[in-house]
């Protein structure tokens, strides 16, 4: 799922300091699951913003809403009745959601309240770790199902580099060396010799390299 973390309050306040009426919009999908932009976090941020304003002798009118999924035009449409009663929209959705609101409401100031991070998995309750880089051409079949593109600091497809020590990446002891994991996995599967097959240079066109991408399903596209 897409993960995100709430922006520092000061940055959000900078965006809307001159506003009197705010529409604060959460999203009930990925950012709810990673506790960044769900209904609870909307209420928490609303309260924090209100207190910040009041501390400086001002007040602000905040309308709280949470859409089912902010990257769907139909759900974003639900903001329409309230949009012109507010000076700005603060969206707690991932980058996709924020931009969908912008696409729909051209003349309205829309600000992000979270920093979208990565596509990841729940390592344990309350902890999410990067798992996929969206390179568009999955090579998990070659590395025993563990991805070096997303989980190696240098994206090495023929790692490990010289800096791997005790199973950890040279960059930080917090980061597992993915090639250690791959090597262990290949050993477990008993196919260590697959390690020596060279993974050829990658065609990055399928990744961000090829420019912003689009998926078109002819059978579904209207």
């Amino acid at each position: 799922m897409i993960t995100a973390e709430r922006k520092p309050l000061a940055e959000i306040i900078d965006y809307i300091d001159n506003c009197r009426r705010i529409l604060l919009v959460g999203c009930n999908e990925c950012v709810t699951v990673c506790a960044a932009g769900g209904r609870k976090e909307v209420a928490m941020l609303a309260s924090a913003m209100q207190m910040d304003f009041m501390k400086r002798g001002k007040t602000v009118d905040i309308r709280e809403m949470t859409l089912e999924r902010q990257c769907e035009p139909e759900y974003v449409e639900e903001l329409a009745p309230f949009i012109d009663q507010v000076d700005a929209v603060v969206s707690m959705a991932c980058g996709c959601g924020v931009q969908e609101v912008v696409r729909r409401f051209r003349d309205k100031r829309v600000y992000p309240a979270v920093n979208t991070q990565f596509m990841g998995a729940a390592e344990r309750p309350g902890v999410w770790a990067e798992r996929c880089h969206g390179c568009g051409n999955c090579l998990l079949g070659l590395t025993g199902g563990i991805c070096p593109i997303a989980r190696c600091s240098k994206r090495l497809m023929n790692g490990p580099c010289g800096g791997s020590s005790k199973g950890k990446c040279e960059v930080s002891p917090e980061i597992d060396c993915v090639w250690q994991l791959i090597w262990d996995r290949l050993k477990e599967l008993g196919i260590e010799d697959r390690y020596e097959e060279i993974i050829l240079a990658k065609d990055w066109r399928t990744e961000r390299g090829g420019g912003p991408r689009k998926i078109v399903r002819e059978d579904l596209a209207q």
């Binding site: 009930n28 999908e29 709810t32 699951v33 506790a35 769900g38 609870k40 209420a43």
Partner: protein, 1011 residues
Amino acid sequence: MTDHTNDAQSTVLVIGGGVGGIKAAMDLSEARKDVLLVDKAAAIGGLMTQLDRTFPTNNCDLCTISPHLSAGAREQHIELMPLTEVTALAGDAGDFTVTLTSAPRYIDLDKCTACGECHKQYPECVRFYPGLDHRAPTCMRYPQATPQAFSIDMAACKDVDALVKVCPAGAIVVDDQEKEVTRRVSSIILAVGAELFDPGKLDHFGHGRYPNVVTGLEYERIMSASGPTLGNLVRPSDGQAPKRVAWIQCAGSRGINREDVSYCSSVCCMYALKEAIVTKERFQDDIETTIFFMDMRTFGKDYEAYYQRAKEQYNIRMVRCRPHSIVPDPGGQEMRISYATDEVSGMTTENFDMVVLSTGFRPAAHTVQLAETLGIALNTHQFVQSNHFEPVVTSRPGIYVCGVSEGPKDIPETMVQASAAACMAARHTDKALHDVEENDEYPPERDVFGEAPRIGVFVCDCGQNIGGAMDVEALVQESAKYPHVVHAEMAGHGCGQEALARMRRMIEEKKLNRVVVGACSPRTHEGLFQENLRKAGLNKYLLEIANIRDQNAWVHGGARELATAKGKKLIRMAVGAVAQAGPLREHTLPMNKDVLVLGGGVAGMNSALSLGDQGYKVFLAERTGRLGGLAAVIRRNLEGDDVRVYVAQLVERVQAHDNIEVITNAIVVDHSGMPGKFQTGFQIGPRMYYRQIEHGATVLATGALAHRPNQYLLGRHKAVMTQLDLDDLIEAQPDRIKDWECMVMIQCVGSRTAENPNCSRICCQTAIKNALRLTDLNPEMRVFVLYRDMRTYGFSEDAYIEARRRGVIFVRYEAEKTPQVTADGDRVTVQFDDPILGRPMEVSADCLGLSTGLIADDETTEDLAAIFHLNRTEDGHFLEDHVKLKPLDMSVPGFFVAGTAHSPRSIAESIAQAQGVAGRIQGLLSQDVINLGAVVARVDRDKCATCLVCVRACPYNVPFINEDRYSEIDPAKCHGCGTCAAECPAKAIQLSCFEDAPIMAKLEGLLERIA
């Protein structure tokens, strides 16, 4: 008090409101039988309520017992008659006529709200505070006493009319007389307990003369937070903290002197250890604690571990001797104890700041007199005579006994007997099993859905309690202004009968659909007011209580206007919250009333019979091919009855009983469901065909194994056998014993060791039983018993005395230096050290009897624990829900344990547990529906993001993601803690009764600036 028909056939009389009487009354009321509970004291609670901490859990007893009591008073089936004694009895089982005489309380219970005004101004004659003040027995035994009332000692009152004026509730009745009333009851339970021996008569200990010599109970009160010294441990003589404290065991027990009794009171060793541990734990651990004892009798479940912990972790010093005397040290306040031990010849003296005499139980004088009135026999020690195989039955049919009045025992055993007595007494009530529906007394519930909130505010003044601390009138005027409030009035004593009636009238008149009561704590009175709403046709959850007494008036007594302002705010908060409250349904399911009993031993069979006789369908599943269990191989008990005959009769009765279906060779393979709706799968017979049984409750009576460790040549020499083999040999080949010349027994074989740290409780009695039968058959033979501690607790001490009188030689050995056994042809020689002679001994014996005790059937309990998710103690016995107050229930609702599966115990004690479990189950299965309550979490499917936070957060693993892809919480399993609601990132979960809306309304009510 509740008024209900004086229907003779359905009422059980319980005499004695101690913890045993209350438990029996509670079990009977849970089984929807009416109970008349009488106690000669002004409030119920008995001895236990004065105890500060109770072994082995060392927690304060107040919170474990008080829910029992307030619940007790509120139960519709229990009628309480304090200050009352039984003066005459006629009739017989099923239809007794009893005459009850009540002493005057001089207070009308309906009016008195325990405001304490009378006590504040006339302490000398109004009895209120518990504690060690040696004045007349206290009236309010402890802060949460039941009934919440005072009593007056008129004799000590100098100015009666002044006293009357001071009571705001006008509750004082000057001309209150002694009342006599006759009632017809179906059966009687005697639970009058016993007194603690007053050691003043023992002049060599000087209790009563020297203030620093106290009894165990007095020391208890000194340590208790609600005691006279408010919980700080000080020496009575000068109020200094003691540095050295000593305990002297068996004060007045196990003795032959003038004031002594011969029996052992079973509990003093444990409470002495507890007091010593708590002294170290709660006060300073540098206080030196010493216990002078003869045998440390910690035979209960896990009590031995408690004893070892006392020695190793708290290093409490143990001195094995019987102190000679206590005299004051001429120098200071200290007491000098002189004593002699085996190791040191001559007398030793030591000084202590305080000496605690561990006094045991004595039959109270009025109990002896009461027994006469009831026409029941007493044993030689003046305790109630019970039947060896029916421990709660007295000599007169229809009258049962439980607790210490039957014999000295600790609280868990008392609770077991209480439940057993309740089960036996219930037999005589003819109330059919499925009698009248419970809720026909309430009018139909008015549907308030869609109505705008119409709130009624009732503010109590509770006499001076609230009225004295704040301006109640101002509260009422202020409340009238709050949103949606259509009616506000003073309620005086809101919990009184007239106030409740008036509230009901106002609800109907003013069409109120919400009620706020400014009163005391919802913890104690929420149920009372909820029920009142229900009686007025309102859903009982449309209520909010503002705690303006315990959390306002009582804690801001000095600042009247601050308390008034806070009172207004608390009511404002309650009004805001109740406006958001909606009617709530309590979830119910039909109750399956069949019972599954696992284990066909004495315990299992007795449970099955007790339940079967009450009309319950019982499935008795036995893993092996036959019924009888371990008891089937036992020949005699200590009292000499033929056990084999008893077991045979039991098996026959079970197999003939039409309510009991016996299933042998049955192994449990799966289980699911909840109390009242269980399904358990069995594989039965050699072909292992599968059968599933539906039942509402489960009894685990799977017994324990006779321990046979290979020590002392057991199994390798034919002269070496266990006590069990010996018991059989004595019965089968008595003549062989005639030419025996010498016999040696060794105690604690394979018990109280590292591998099996527990004491098996019954081996000492078994050894004595066999020794007596041996000396009957062959008076000349010499019998040695090598022991570590002789634990013949209770009346079995008499048998120990008899054995010594017959010349059986008891020699103590230390755990570190066990006797050595070597083969010598078909005899064995046993070497051991004699501590008194101080030199090694060698005895050649025809036979060596090993007391090997019982160990848990680990393999069986492990499988069953896994299937039923039950927990066990480390050594493999099943773990009960509360070691003290719920010894028969297991922590998983609907599961009960009886017999040696719980812990090693005698046959009589197993039977008591079996009947007790039957009593508990009748309570569980008496309802026709399973009431799941209303405080459960509910998920809004539209908001749920299926993020699994609730699935991971719930401490009871209740939420799960259903096929429609949102989280679902089964109301039957939800415990109502609300963790999921607070963790849910999508705010999709609300906990009914504690939703966000009412909580936010309280905050807004409290913090809004504009009135």
